[in-house]
């Protein structure tokens, strides 16, 4: 019992603690300049990122060590969140220049999600893939694996066959590591080329992972194409119920690909 309580308390303590970034990695490499800039950059954590004083801290880090990627990245993020493509691009390019492995994936997904630059996103993901011989990892907010996001980009560009190939390959390899919405996007891609039975299989699998309104909405579209009135009716009704409850795809920064609105459901119900 005491061991149990101790474990809970220790876990609380760990979660409450704020770990210092490991600047020592630069020291181990013999790079004292980057080490000093990294240590100084820790002050940034005390500010809200948009704060002009925070930006001044980042500028000081850059003055200390012009090839330390972190401050460029953080400046880019501020412009990104303000929807400023010029400021974002200037600083994220510098972050990628000085640390491509850490920031190429982020640049890829942000290009696609914030500026609809899907070709740029695909190019960055492919570039990252040539640089590493291990898993390239996830997009900036962890919602999708970079391979899945590449597939989504192909889908938006209208290359559905390639999208299916990329996303399906990842899911087949990932097995348990399937994302929250991967099957929705795959299903929509199948739908786009008229493969409604395949699409419905995807939406069925999505139900077991993360059941949302979009799942039933797109299933309704396929049932409609297959002239299955009964399942169409139940699916679209279910989609509306879930939307009313807010059980849908969601991201606080932007509208996701294949995300739906009540107007979409109501239009389909007519």
């Amino acid at each position: 019992m005491r061991l149990f309580i101790f474990s809970i308390v220790l876990l609380t303590a760990i979660c409450a603690a704020k770990a210092q970034p490991n600047c020592n990695v630069f020291l181990w490499k013999g790079d004292t300049l980057q080490y000093e800039a990294c240590k100084y950059s820790q002050i940034f954590r005390f500010y809200y990122q948009f704060d002009t004083e925070a930006i001044a801290v980042l500028d000081s880090c850059i003055a200390l060590c012009p090839y330390y990627a972190f401050p460029y990245y953080e400046k880019a993020v501020v412009y990104l969140k303000a929807g400023n493509p010029i400021g974002w691009d200037k600083y994220i390019n510098l972050a990628v220049k000085y640390d491509p492995i850490s920031y190429l994936g982020t640049r890829a997904s942000c290009r696609g999600k914030f500026f609809a630059d899907y070709e740029g996103a695909i190019s960055d993901i492919d570039s990252l893939d040539t640089l590493v011989d291990y898993d390239i990892g996830y997009i900036h907010d962890g919602m999708y694996h970079l391979n899945v996001y590449k597939g989504i980009c192909y889908k938006v560009l209208g290359n559905y066959t390639k999208a299916i190939e990329v996303i399906q390959s990842h899911i087949d390899a990932a097995e348990v590591d399937v994302g929250l919405y991967d099957y929705i996007h795959l299903g929509v891609a199948y739908q786009a080329i008229g493969e409604h039975k395949q699409a419905l299989e995807c939406f069925k699998k999505q139900e077991t992972i993360n059941d949302v309104a979009e799942n039933h909405y797109y299933a309704a579209l396929s049932y409609q194409e297959l002239e299955d009135a009964e399942n169409f009716s139940s699916s679209i009704t279910r989609a509306k119920e879930m939307l009313d409850k807010g059980q849908q795809m969601s991201n606080k920064y932007h509208i996701l690909e294949d995300e739906i609105f009540m107007t979409d459901v109501e239009a389909l119900m007519k």
Binding site: F6, D59, D89
Partner: protein, 228 residues
């Protein structure tokens, strides 16, 4: 400096509570059964805590103001940073020459937040389909110059859903500053300004003033995508 000291204080307080919890847990696990031995153990632990707090204070970096440099004044779409009257990067102060005189924020300027910190996620989410429909019906691509790139309109929305302080920024598709023809920007701006309410009545929890933007991807004068 005040901000740093305040945050340092909270950091020390946080460390104190963590150490207190850890000490309490050690006591719980202790095999000593007498009150006096527990007290002695607690006393020893308190000394350890004080030493660790002092270590934390010494090891925490403090900012030497002489090392802090003002950011450079940037041009072509990069925000002014030497303007110390600006609270945050990309803040939009009132300009009496172009902004409404009767537009009022519900709260102090210092309390305006970014759109994604509004309770109902994006801040534009609930009316995105209406925005899409509005531009589809109102924007006339037939009368514009066939230009390509990104146009961002950023503005501030008060807690009642009214908007003002519209600022426009143009970029090419390779993210370089670009001035679009007025046939495009005048339309985009006037349609954006025509939205009389940026939140629905159901957004009761969104009692905030916030910054919002709309970004248009334009190909040959046509809107192909509206973000976010």
């Amino acid at each position: 400096m005040v901000k740093i000291l305040r945050n340092l204080f909270y950091r020390v307080l946080n460390t104190f509570w963590i150490l207190l919890l850890m000490n309490a847990s050690v006591l719980l696990l202790g095999t000593h059964h007498t009150v006096s031995s527990s007290f002695k153990q607690f006393k020893n632990m308190s000394i350890t805590m004080i030493a660790l707090i002092l270590f934390c204070l010494i090891s925490c970096t403090t900012q030497n103001e002489s090392n802090v440099q003002d950011g450079p004044v940037l041009q072509n779409g990069l925000s002014l940073q030497n303007d110390t009257s600006l609270r945050w990067l990309e803040d939009i102060p009132h300009n009496p020459e172009i902004d409404k005189t009767d537009f009022k924020l519900c709260y102090d300027e210092q309390k305006a937040i970014q759109y994604y910190r509004v309770n109902n996620s994006t801040g534009v989410k609930n009316i995105k389909s209406e925005i899409n429909a509005l531009f589809k019906s109102k924007y006339n691509s037939a009368v514009v110059k066939k230009e390509t790139g990104l146009v961002r309109i950023r503005f501030i929305v008060n807690c009642k859903g009214e908007a003002d302080r519209f600022r426009l920024l143009g970029s090419s598709l390779d993210y370089k500053a670009k001035t679009f023809d007025k046939s495009i920007t005048d339309q985009l701006l006037s349609i954006t300004k025509s939205v009389d309410r940026w939140k629905k009545d159901t957004d009761k929890d969104d009692d905030k003033d916030y910054y919002l933007y709309i970004l248009f991807k334009i190909i040959d004068g046509k809107i192909v995508k509206i973000l976010p």
